[in-house]
Amino acid sequence: MTKPRKQVHLAVHFPGVNNTTVWSDPRSGSHIDFSSFRHLAQTAERAKFDFLFLAEGLRLREYAGQIHDLDVVGRPDTFTVLAALAAVTDRLGLAGTINSTFNEPYEVARQFASLDHLSDGRAAWNVVTSWDAFTGENFRRGGFLPADQRYERAERFMRTAWELFDSWRRDAVVADKESGRFLDDPAAGTFAHQDAHFDIAGRFGVPRSPQGRPVIFQAGDSDGGREFAAATADAIFSRHSELEAGKAFYADVKGRLAKYGRTPDQLLVLPASTFVLGDTDAEAQDIAAEVRRQQVSGPTAIRHLEEVWNRDLTGYDPDGPLPDVDPIAGENTVVKGRASVRQHRDPFAVAKQWRELAEAKGLSIRDLVIHVSGKQTYIGSPETVAEAIDHSVQEDASDGAILVPHITPGGLDEFADRVVPLLQERGVFRTEYEGTTLRSHLGLADLP
């Protein structure tokens, strides 16, 4: 007997403030006009996607003490843009990354409960924890957290929010005009929570929302992050989009579920994935190479190198050879405000490896950065890409993908028009939405 074919789950990530997003292309539109968000969301909904995803960054990235100006800069507020998108879509899930460090549980819970009401049950929360005092300078409560408290705070924050979501029974609002009873419970919303991070009590002000609570996403990759996801999340925003790494990650996190009394279908693994389409595989490869050059301009290549070298390399020619000076040891102080400043654990080894690679292949700085900073996940004709996505899902490397287009806002159009029908023909992707809530799209059971 053959295994039943798993269904593919697809989502789209609004292009972000990093060099994946190509702003220099003539087709690149505004990153702030609502029309761009509307276009991408409506394209995703037309293609029957599960949800649209927004990342977050609460301080503009800085580079050597100045605002990083080579990538897209600026984005809207997450909650309000998602609430506005609820007005121009009917079924698409609306997922927002919201920080547990620069917010309080009561406020985040009332915002997510409100969003879930205003979207008729389509809200999702990607729970992240920052710990940098740099971002904290924008907030009254500051930002620093010791490393060992990060997941603890995130988990306590989220569980506190859950208590608030659960503080109203689903049928507490009766609104019976005849008898004059609006509520059937005088104490609806009552909560009290005390732990090392939060000590709050009172009444939650928002009645229970259609999904009960937002769908929970988790994005951390460390052991602590994986455990947090296994214990609490409905889906993981994963960075392991390649087949073998994806299979290992998938097996790891799904294997952690049993000890929390959960089954593998209760946690979806959705890798962030990029794509380039062409009429043929060869054409797609050519386009992909061109996109990589757009993504890695000369100045971007130099700055990428500086993240490893941890020193000013502005004098170097991006079309010339790699620097012969060594990296500066110690904490990277050049780049600030990235969601994940990738601290290269051994910059000397990386520099050595990159120099050897550049010499062996005759690569310039820009060529080298293009080479090492990762190519697109899916490259090919629509047939090739549809097959590869299906393969990733059937081989248990993922449950689908969160697609990151490189053009705003039309970067998903071609995928919607050419790849989605092929996935539907293969019988692995919905042709109509079955339910109205995001939980339903993701195959998650309703909460009471």
């Binding site: 006009d33 309000t80 205003l118 009873r181 709050i200």
Partner: protein, 387 residues
């Protein structure tokens, strides 16, 4: 020019209306109070009436008749949605009317609110504002657990140091929000292919706000909103609130009960561009019908409805007389609180507005496509831009 310029009109939306028994009216939709559709319908009705803006009430806890804490009542509407998100939800479905949600500025973050209102302004193409509201309740403070606040036991407590501090903090909050709106110059985005730069970072500014309660570095993560500065409105009954309005507001909502109150209050809020009178309204075509409708609602509620603002019952013509009289006294507009929704909202848009139009006192079409435009406020120069 008081007395001759057209009136400005706003409606204050809250649940099923301001009367506590309004949700029991036959045409009320109490089971839909927590849906996007309900709020969209209400704001579209206000837009059909060519109103300047709607406000949306909010609070950091469930509604309560108690001064502080909870009243355990089950016979009135309890629960509400975040007003800023309601405004965002309504923005794409409307095209001309201003959207001014309440935002509680005690316990919350100015950085978050600044970008939220800026985003509503982007989504509405220049129709956003907000109304800063303080929270003096100990029960609200316990929802955050970050500061100790004494329980309010008497209204007199509101005049003590605590209240002054809360209004001082609110003024700091609005200042930080306004600086963040200006922290991007309008032409900061350059997309200069030659140098590979997306923005000109010389046109992005730290705000370096330092105050007693918080500091905010900036710049905002959200580009300058279309209006430059969205509209800030303040409801004021007491001296510290008048001071906040003078320092921070484009519109102040005041609660006179007669023309002499109007004169007295106008002296307190000198310098605020717009002074709006605040009234709760019950409107019917037939003389006396509104008063008896209110009496019927009072009976359902088990108590006479009273308010911090004048409660008006009568016909659209009678209300127009009152409003135009107060305009003579110096008010530039009114924020009307419909006693029951949809009845009194539709009476405003379908009876009062035509009555005012007949008297040449209200617009017959929208003359601008931003809220500042409707209010006759110029788009302000950016405080950080070189002169």
């Amino acid at each position: 020019m008081p007395g001759t310029s057209p009136l400005h009109l706003a409606v204050a939306l809250d649940g099923a209306g301001w009367h506590p028994a309004a949700w029991r009216e036959a045409d009320a939709r109490p089971r839909e109070l927590f849906s996007g559709r309900y709020w969209t319908d209400l704001v579209l009705e206000a837009e059909r009436g060519l109103l300047d803006f709607v406000t949306i009430e909010d609070s950091l806890g469930p509604q309560s008749t108690a001064l502080d804490g909870f009243d355990d009542r089950v016979d009135q509407v309890r629960g509400r949605l975040d007003a800023v998100l309601v405004a965002a939800r309504v923005a794409p479905s409307t095209s001309r009317i201003g959207l001014v949600p309440s935002a509680i500025v005690t316990h919350t973050e100015p950085f978050h609110l600044s970008k939220a209102v800026a985003t509503v302004d982007h989504a509405s193409r220049g129709r956003a504002g907000f109304r800063p509201v303080i929270s003096a309740r100990a029960s609200d403070a316990k929802h955050f657990g970050r500061r100790d606040v004494p329980v309010l036991e008497r209204l007199d407590d509101l005049e003590d140091r605590l209240l002054l501090d809360l209004f001082e903090e609110a003024a700091d909050y609005v200042e930080a929000v306004r600086r963040l709106w200006d922290s991007w110059e309008d032409d900061a985005e350059i997309r200069d292919a030659a140098t590979g730069r997306f923005v000109d970072r010389e046109k992005l500014h730290r705000i370096d706000f330092e105050g007693r309660w918080f500091s905010v570095r900036g710049p905002s993560i959200t580009p300058r909103p279309p209006q430059g500065q969205p509209v800030v409105s303040v409801l004021a009954h007491v001296a510290p609130a008048y001071e906040l309005a003078v320092r921070a507001a484009d519109v102040v909502h005041v609660t006179p009960f007669d023309s002499s109150d109007v004169h007295r209050i106008l002296r307190e809020v000198r310098g605020v561009p717009h002074v709006f009178g605040e009234l709760v309204v019950f409107l019917d075509d037939r003389p006396g019908a509104a008063a008896s409708r209110k009496a019927r609602l009072d009976e359902l509620a088990g108590a006479e409805y009273r308010s911090d603002a004048l409660v008006f019952t009568g016909t659209a013509g009678e209300l127009a007389d009152l409003l135009l009289g107060w305009r003579e006294a110096g008010l530039s507009g009114f924020r009307l609180r419909p006693g029951a929704v949809p009845h009194d909202l539709e009476a405003i848009t379908r009876a009062l507005v035509p009555e005012l139009q007949r008297r040449g006192a209200f617009r017959t079409e929208y003359e601008a496509d931003t809220l500042r435009g409707l209010l006759g406020l110029p788009r302000p120069v950016n405080r950080y831009a070189p002169a």
